[in-house]
Amino acid sequence: MKEKIAPVEEIKQKFGYIEVDEQKAVNVPAGKLLEFMQALKDEYELDFLTNLTAVDYPEENKFEVVYNLTSTTKAYGLMVRTGVDRENPVLPSVFPIWGGANWQEREVYDLMGIVFTGHPNLKRILLDDKFEGHPLRKDFQWEGGRE
């Protein structure tokens, strides 16, 4: 399985503030997220937001939001990560750039509790509106069930 990855080196040189790790995934600071994403879409034809999710790292006191972008024309993909503070999980929504973020951000908000500012309809999607807590956080505790 060969991975086709977007020209990371080129992107790296253009945007000084990003970091590229050994998997050729891009780490971008939360403050520059929207600007960077818009540029990716406009300049590198990464027009398809495949996946948007978040991972909880309580030890590092952060959530990592992961964006997987692909290009429908050039057939390459790129993984973009951004960290967000666990105490105050607020991130700008990428909905204006990719409409596909609509439900995915709602899902992340629902299960992880990250607030996306600028999202048109940020409500719980899978769980009940009255549900308390965000189950995919590592410190989520739930009474009941089998074990």
Partner: protein
């Protein structure tokens, strides 16, 4: 004084055409839709959370329970993601078995989608005729894996078992019959003028919106976007097969439906080629993998073309024997995201037509 008023209609969760427990709160002006608010989550089981307390192998049966109509493809996405994470090479024969069972799964899923769509539009016979063939596909899968729907056939590093004696011949026979059946559906459903009147130019999607809203699978391709991961970024051994990607022109319900019908024909072609090729391949069906899987501390995102669209698995490993986080990009879920805008301005009857043409499985939407 005459005064008109908009009213709400609860379309579901107990409704025959929502394909499960799914609710759309419709705001209606007469029979015309002003606004639609999809409400999902009735089948949420927290599979992503469950996966965090299971070992890597134990997650496989849970992936079945998402898109239970094409369970093999769900398995495949997950095991390939873990294989990518660990760098496992899969034996040739296992790859072929994965392709055959995966495409059979796709065939079963598309047969159901075709039949159920006929039912949604009101033709009951098409539904049961499709089920007749689906039954044959399921019988074959049952013979291979022991289960009819929740197969759990893929394993990390290969597949669970080799094909039983004579199984490939049976598959071959079904594949020979399949084009005749597909012609029958085309005669009964696709060619029907009433069906076309109901579905053509309904729920149209432009390629730009389809891409923007991350729609995938037949929904995307019906809009004319040539984006099939089997072709664009071949995973497994898909680059060895000769097949076409059916595309639509108008991006309407009819195209989405007809894309599926033509995809069935392509699946048949792939399976036929795979059966020819697998005869020359012998050997183990599972690679030598350690009993306890401990992938290196890393993360991976892998996506494949499932029956409903692109299914992607994001797996994070912290070096232990259990995944730190598993996220699934579920095609049904994301394809539904544009439902509201798609429904606006159409009639109640079109809700069923449009929702059916997206071909969702609630197990996957709600995860």
């Amino acid at each position: 004084m005459l005064r008109t008023q908009e009213y709400f209609l609860n379309f579901g969760p107990q409704h025959p055409s929502t394909h499960g427990v799914f609710q759309i709160i419709l705001t209606l002006d007469g029979e015309r839709i002003v606004k639609a608010e999809p409400v999902c989550g009735y089948l949420h089981r927290g599979i992503e959370k469950l996966a965090e307390s299971r070992t890597y192998t134990q997650v496989i049966p849970y992936t079945d329970r998402m898109d239970y109509l094409a369970a093999m493809l769900q398995n495949l996405g997950y095991v390939q993601a873990v294989e990518k994470l660990m760098g496992i090479e899969v034996p040739e024969r296992a790859e072929y078995l994965r392709i055959i069972s995966g495409e059979l799964s796709r065939l079963a899923s598309h047969l159901l989608a075709t039949g159920v769509y006929a039912l949604d539009i009101g033709g009951f016979t098409g539904f049961l005729l499709c089920f007749r063939e689906r039954e044959r596909v399921m019988d074959l899968l049952e013979e291979l894996t022991g289960s009819r729907m929740t197969l759990s056939y893929a394993r990390i590093g290969g597949v669970a078992d080799d094909a039983p004696e004579g199984w490939l011949d049976k598959v071959k026979k079904l594949m020979d019959d399949m084009p005749g059946y597909i012609d029958e559906y085309n005669g009964l459903i696709t060619g029907n003028e009433i069906f076309q009147a109901r579905t053509k130019f309904v729920g149209q999607l432009t390629p730009e919106t389809a891409i923007n809203y991350s729609l995938s699978g037949p929904v995307l391709r019906a809009s004319g976007v040539n984006y099939d991961l089997r072709k664009v970024r071949p995973y497994g051994i898909y680059d060895r097969f000769d097949f076409e990607v059916p595309l639509g022109e108008n991006g309407d319900c009819f195209d989405r439906f007809y894309c599926r019908v033509r995809e069935m024909q392509q699946s048949v072609r792939i399976i036929q080629q795979a059966i020819e090729q697998i005869k020359e391949v012998d050997g183990p069906v599972i690679a030598k993998v350690p009993k306890v899987l401990k992938p290196p501390k890393s993360d991976v995102y892998h996506e494949i073309e499932s029956a409903k669209g692109i299914i992607g698995y994001y797996v994070v490993s912290d070096g232990s024997n259990k995944p730190y986080r598993v996220h699934v990009r579920r095609p049904s879920f994301i394809n539904l995201g544009y439902l509201d805008e798609m429904l606006r301005g159409y009639l109640i009857a079109d809700v069923v037509a449009i929702l059916g043409s997206i071909d969702i499985v609630l197990g996957e939407v709600d995860c």
